[in-house]
């Protein structure tokens, strides 16, 4: 499952088809908007101005870009091994839970920098733990990782609800709005006048570069790719499939957990733990990596573009009588039309050769 990839072939013809796919997706989204009685131009304009229209909005998109980048980096690892890590949402949540736990426990006794670093490590661990759980279910229980992961997402979600309403509730009022926010000393420092933290950006970019290098040039990367291409051949080549699969789940989970940490301490964060803290960033990253055809380099701009659409479409519900899920519709349409054009292209070339 999933050892075939999608996306378009490079080259002039591929470029032309890519443009066609984008136009078709925009056209279909415009039709949806027309059905809703909205002006497509107005709506697309709102999405654009809502995401890139001012420096504060751009900063917001950039900080939301980081968790998507981290998740995409993790998913590149699992997808390379042919694994569908749908459990990534829960891994983000567990990262946030572990990070919050460490910060709550240590914020009084250690300097902020140490607390933040330890929280990041806890986030890595929490996500890796949740990822390995999905991997273990697949490996030792033969439970398909799609179902295992999905179930674990819901379990992680209700764990946060339990924590927020139970042991970690705010003094006095326990509400689903989340735990007591952390003081500004435990926020990642941002640029003066531009609400983006250089630490976040550096983290996002460097992680995806590291994954790019790891998949291209290391023993582990090549082994994972071999497993993804054909598990039987990989087995015959003597690759320890089970161990490497578990490792891939652990790595992806760790990076997702780091994204969870960013969602607690980052510049655009609410600086606390609340239900649904993963906000769909994990699923968004799945779309990003699929559209990028498992290319680490393409994932970077596509992640930015998709984050911008998601953030911009929030304006649709704030300023017009539209649902903010319109962003998801545009993203989904993009993927579907790329999938179809790619299929048409490969079939067309096949027919041409005959």
């Amino acid at each position: 499952m999933g050892n075939e990839t999608m996306g378009l072939e490079p080259g002039a013809k591929g470029f032309l088809l890519r443009i066609t796919a984008i136009l078709v997706a925009i056209g279909l989204s415009a039709i949806i908007l027309l059905i809703m009685g909205a002006s497509p131009l107005d709506a697309f304009g709102l999405i654009l101005s809502g995401s890139l229209g001012s420096s504060s909005k751009l900063a917001y998109v950039m900080t939301a870009w980081v968790p998507v980048l981290l998740c995409s980096a993790g998913l590149l690892v699992t997808f390379s091994a042919g694994l569908w890590n749908i459990g990534i949402e829960g891994q983000v949540v567990m990262g946030a839970v572990f990070a919050t736990g460490v910060m709550q426990g240590l914020q009084e006794s250690l300097p902020p920098a140490a607390v933040l670093t330890l929280a990041a490590c806890a986030g890595l661990l929490g996500g890796a733990f949740w990822g390995m759980l999905a991997g273990g279910l697949r490996l030792y229980g033969d439970v398909n990782e799609i179902f295992g992961g999905l179930g674990l997402n819901f379990i992680a979600g209700s764990l946060t609800v339990y924590l927020v309403l139970g042991p970690w509730k705010r003094p006095g009022i326990g509400s689903t709005s989340g735990t007591q926010p952390f003081p500004p000393s435990l926020w990642l420092p941002a640029f003066e006048g531009f609400q983006v933290s250089p630490i976040e950006l550096l983290l996002g970019i460097s992680v995806i570069v590291l994954v790019f290098i790891a998949l291209k040039g290391t023993h582990l990367g090549l082994q994972l790719k071999a497993i993804g291409k054909n598990p039987r051949t990989a087995f015959l080549m003597g690759i320890p499939i089970g161990r490497q699969m578990l490792l891939a789940f652990g790595l992806c989970g760790a990076l997702a957990g780091l994204a969870g940490w960013v969602l607690v301490v980052g510049t655009s964060a609410r600086h606390n733990l609340f239900p649904l803290i993963s906000s769909g960033y994990g699923f968004l990253a799945i779309l990003v990596v699929l559209l990028a055809n498992l290319s680490a380099l393409w994932s970077v701009p596509i992640a930015f573009f998709f984050t911008a659409i998601s953030m911009g479409s929030l304006q649709l519900s704030l300023q017009r009588q539209l649902d903010s899920s319109m962003g998801g519709v545009i993203q989904g349409m993009l993927l579907l039309s790329v999938l179809i054009t790619k299929g048409l292209q490969s079939r067309f070339l096949q027919w041409g050769q005959r």
């Binding site: 030792y140 229980g141 439970v143 699929l290 989904g332 579907l336």
Partner: protein, 328 residues
Amino acid sequence: MDIVILMNSILAASPPLLFAVLGETITEKAGVINLSLDGSLLLTAMIGFVVSLKTGSVVAGFMAAMIVGSLIAAIIAFVSLTLQQPQVATGFVLTLLCRDLAYVLGNPYAHIPGPQVPHTPLPGLAHLPVVGSILFDHNPVVYLSLLIILLLWAFMFRTQSGLKLQGLGERPAAAYLRGVNVTKMRYFYTLAGGALVGLGGASFSLMVKPGWARPYGIEGTGWIALAIVIFGGWKPFRAALGIFFFVALQTAVNILQSAAPNVPTQLFPTLPFPLMILTLLLVTIGNAEWVGRALGRLPEKFQRFLVRTLKALQTSPPSALGTIFKKE
């Protein structure tokens, strides 16, 4: 609670899952995975509600939902069978896309009262003691959902076409050699399965959970349905049994919820998911290599018992599920 009332309410709440699971079962029997269930159930629920609200006809709502369900299935069939693109990726993209479409298009219709399937006890039969109150004191959709279990079982295991359907998912190459148009038939069963999923979606919004909202409250149910297909071993009766068991547990949880007010209510909707993992684990763990080895080390009597239990629980998918069939 009265056991008769309990069983009646279980049957009344089962149709959405029954239609969705049985629809997915025939799709997968033919060798195609329609992973989009979680999204298509939401979209067809919304469409079914809105269409019957606009037309005033519940039947029109169900029809529209079935058409949309087939359309989604048609996209999966076209992209995976004709264009030979990965099925799981297509299904996952459609899961998210259909969900978001449902939220966007359904936005103006949230929290509006609308038509519902009328309660129609079967004259004569409904007054039978016990059986009457359990089976025949419902509406036509419930009767249909029960009938369809029987019909599908008879079709799959008692007819020539049913045998061919099995061949599509198990040995498409052999079916092809016997003159079956594999791609065409896979299209047919994918679309038919999609229509049933649509029926399931509309049974939510016109019956079990009338109306529309965001979130609608059935988010995640599509994944449960996909898991029940596995639990059911791609067989109608076992699948139905799984559904009744699941709905019964949900009902029990609801009762428990009022009995244990100290537990946060937000936790209860999550309970199905650990259950889903555990159930899947039970039916699939027998396939894992280490289990066989571990069983070999146990005393013989105990071993035989465990092996038999695992074998009874174990299910395995149609062997060509999710693969692309190419004529050589």
